[in-house]
């Protein structure tokens, strides 16, 4: 019998321990809204720090570095920002439980700068149902800002892909009206978004596109597509691809002995580091054009710029961040907007007020963006950034051309 007693005792101990585990982590927060105390604001983030898109992971560290900088300056209206970053490996199946964890267990005030189109789509319905702001998602997919009327808790930040390619269209019509355009695009929503923007932007001139070739993200290379484009007689090439394909595409164009009069790269592929890799691999990089809205940390013309100096001060505190990586200035710039919104919310620190300011009342000039770029939202326009400037590559650096092109109002 003694043994039965011992077994029962063990069972009871186990169940008591179990009940103890279950009950924790559920303390309510007494403040203006969930995630805000008198001295802190808790923001959550999911991003890829492992897996195929791990290169983006540094964005969250740059954002954290900027929040730390703001905290060291006294925080936002006396509150410091706590920023919790979780790695979803670019997989929506991970984003869902991690976002639920941040919202329900960690009780964040808002989700900030979550990365990826599929990953953020997977939690959009959930966050909107819970009325948790899904602010400034780190993707240019047009749908996030476009569908504001149905998802009033979600907002994008960076220029939408369609808006970006409308800027290319405007540049082509203005400067190269006789161009014969060949397009290489990734066979998914990302490539399709770019292609739609270009076609819409060209409007009645859409017949300038004489050939379109697509590739799958799992493809080994894009050589056959480029051979096809060359044979079509195109003299202006658009590469709506991710960096992993843009770099070999640039090399292949050179190897084919082909010198198109214009090569347009999307802004995703344009960071200096990728151009450096392409040049090393043998790409000629002639007549290469892209657009930008961020200040390039490697561009000497910003060396004495106040915004760039602030960026360098902030990023010096982030041991894992490469100061020349333009993902980092992206992170600092979007964190700047977040802090700006929180400052404007002032004493009315509620989720509803914060999303309202971000989606309807934003009017900011951000020191990390090109001079003249302003972030604006209104009750009828929820695309924060719509201005970009054409840049061309020469002498191992990007050079700004002309002035800012604004596509505000064309995307609705």
């Amino acid at each position: 019998m003694a043994k039965t007693g011992r077994r029962l005792a063990a069972l009871v101990t186990f169940l008591v321990a179990l009940a103890g585990c279950g009950g924790s982590g559920n303390t309510p927060v007494t403040a203006t809204d969930v995630g805000v105390t008198s001295s802190t604001i808790l923001l959550g983030n999911t991003i890829a720090q492992s897996g195929p898109a791990a290169a983006y992971g540094t964005i969250a560290y740059a954002e954290a570095a900027y929040f730390n900088y703001i905290n060291s300056q006294g925080g936002v209206n006396g509150r410091t920002i706590t920023f919790k970053i979780l790695d979803d490996g670019y997989n929506p199946a991970n984003t869902v439980p991690l976002t639920k964890q941040l919202v329900e267990q960690d009780q964040v005030f808002a989700m900030f700068s979550g990365l990826g189109t599929q990953t953020q789509t997977s939690v959009q319905a959930y966050l909107n149902a819970k009325k948790v702001p899904q602010l400034f998602v780190a993707t240019g997919a047009t749908t996030f800002s476009k569908d504001y009327s149905t998802n009033t808790w979600t907002l994008g930040w960076q220029p939408a892909y369609q808006g970006e390619s409308r800027i290319y269209a405007a540049d082509v019509i203005k400067n190269h009206p006789t161009a014969k355009i060949g397009v290489l695009y990734q066979n998914d929503d990302y490539g399709a978004d770019y292609l739609k923007g270009l076609t819409d932007g060209l409007g009645s001139n859409a017949s300038m596109i004489i050939d379109k070739q697509s590739y799958d993200v799992t493809a080994a290379n894009v050589t056959s597509q480029l051979v096809h484009l060359k044979a079509s007689g195109a003299d202006t090439i658009f590469l709506f691809s991710t960096p992993g394909f843009t770099i070999p595409a640039l090399v292949t164009i050179t190897k084919l002995g082909w010198t198109p009069s214009q090569i347009y790269l999307n802004s995703v592929s344009a960071p200096q580091v990728y151009m450096g890799i392409a040049a090393k691999a043998g790409a000629a990089l002639q007549n290469v054009t892209s657009v930008s809205y961020l200040k390039d940390p490697t561009d000497p013309q910003w060396a004495s710029d106040a915004g760039m100096q602030l960026y360098k001060t902030v990023i010096a505190k982030c041991p894992t961040c490469n100061v020349n990586d333009s993902f980092n200035i992206y992170g600092v710039a979007v964190a700047y907007t977040m802090v700006d919104v929180l400052k404007q919310a002032g004493s009315n620190m509620t989720r509803a007020n914060v999303i309202n300011i971000a989606a309807n009342q934003l009017n900011e000039s951000n020191p990390f963006l090109l001079p003249g770029v302003s972030l604006k939202t209104s009750s009828t326009d929820h695309f924060p950034i719509t201005q970009e400037q054409v840049i061309t590559w020469s002498a191992n650096a990007w050079h700004l051309q002309g002035s800012l092109i604004d596509e505000r109002g064309t995307l609705k």
Partner: protein, 353 residues
């Protein structure tokens, strides 16, 4: 009656404890924790399928994520396009995936271990691309958004708690079926093939039949798990089913313990919580030296995940179930020795400790 209870093998007590744990969990856990455990059970179902194939039949599969994808997309498409109730789509997803798995088992007959691993791995690799192709059916990379499951009969519980009990019910049935399968004639045949297919054939076992059957049953489990996975995350997209999912399932089955019935449950717990622990718990530990912690942070959570796996494989080479069996054996001999010391006699009933 009391005597019968006293003589019940200890594993019956363990089953009781586990049952109490799972039934009682939602009443003490938060909504979010309940959701986490629902995902654990979903992984456990998929790993049970893999366990029947790998653990009991000795055929390796690195492609069960693809079967989960098929199950999830079956449910998503039926619900989204044809407005069929999601509950009805779960068995449909299982049966369709089981049929596909059975067909896949036929060419797999010609492949020995290493080549079968490669073939199934290839299946896992092409799955995200295959999903993207018929855009009109799968909605391509956009993915399909589903509504969270609504509790039936007007039950006053949250969607997460309902999902949990739904998953628990299905998991219980599937585990019971697996337990019956492996204890009877087909189970003996599967194990005989694993241990020596020539000997099994010589004893009159239909080797080809049972091997394809194992693939079919295994895929059926994966299809059910995939269907629940889609319902749980309320969203399916190609990126939901990367190659790493298939590897995660295999890792889970090994960590839990191959060729055992409780193993997949432990495997499900490991598959779900190990990545989370390695990401969130390890960096928060102050006793880990700062240099190691910063190196881990720089390299990402995969490093601590790998380190945890290595530790588990060193200290529990036969998985969680093996560890428990060893531990129980040690405990039993200790207790017996204690009885000897106390009375100078062997304990009266050595089997029932």
């Amino acid at each position: 009656m009391l005597n019968r209870l006293r003589q019940a093998p200890p594993r019956y007590w363990l089953v009781l404890v586990v049952a109490v744990f799972f039934v009682g969990l939602p009443s003490v856990a938060t909504n979010f924790q309940t959701f986490e455990w629902a995902e654990v059970l979903i992984y456990a179902i998929a790993i049970m399928g893999l366990n029947i194939l790998v653990g009991y039949n000795g055929q390796i599969s690195l492609g069960h994520g693809a079967f989960m994808a098929l199950g999830a997309y079956t449910t998503a498409i039926l619900v989204h396009r044809y407005h069929i109730d999601y509950l009805a789509t779960i068995p449909a997803a299982g049966l369709l995936t089981g049929a596909v798995g059975f067909l896949f088992g036929i060419p797999a007959l010609r492949l020995s271990a290493l080549y079968l691993a490669l073939a199934t791995f290839a299946l896992a690799v092409v799955t995200p691309s295959l999903i993207k192709r018929p855009v009109s059916i799968t909605k391509g990379t956009e993915g399909i958004v589903l509504l969270p499951p609504v509790p039936p009969f007007g039950l006053q519980i949250t969607s997460e708690v309902w999902l949990y009990f739904l998953t628990l019910g299905i998991a219980t049935v599937l585990f019971w079926l697996a337990w019956n399968l492996v204890r009877h004639r087909p189970g003996r045949a599967l194990r005989a093939i694993r241990d020596g297919d020539v000997a099994a054939a010589a004893s009159g076992v239909n080797v080809a039949g049972y091997k394809t059957l194992a693939f079919g049953i295994s895929a059926f489990y994966a299809g059910i798990a995939g269907s629940l996975y889609g319902v749980a995350t309320s969203y399916v997209s190609p990126d939901t089913f990367p190659v790493s999912l298939s590897i995660l399932l295999l890792v889970g089955s090994v960590v839990g313990g191959l060729g055992s019935i409780p193993g997949p449950l432990l495997g499900g717990i490991a598959a779900f919580f190990l990545p989370i622990l390695s990401q969130q718990w390890v960096p928060a530990q102050t006793w880990i030296p700062a240099q190691i912690a910063s190196a881990v942070e720089k390299a990402g959570p995969a490093v601590s995940y790998g380190a945890l796996l290595i530790l588990i494989m060193i200290f529990a080479p036969n998985g969680g179930v093996g560890l428990i069996r060893t531990g129980y054996g040690i405990l039993q001999s200790r207790l017996r020795a204690a009885g000897d010391r106390g009375t100078g006699q062997a304990p009266p009933d050595a089997q029932t400790v």
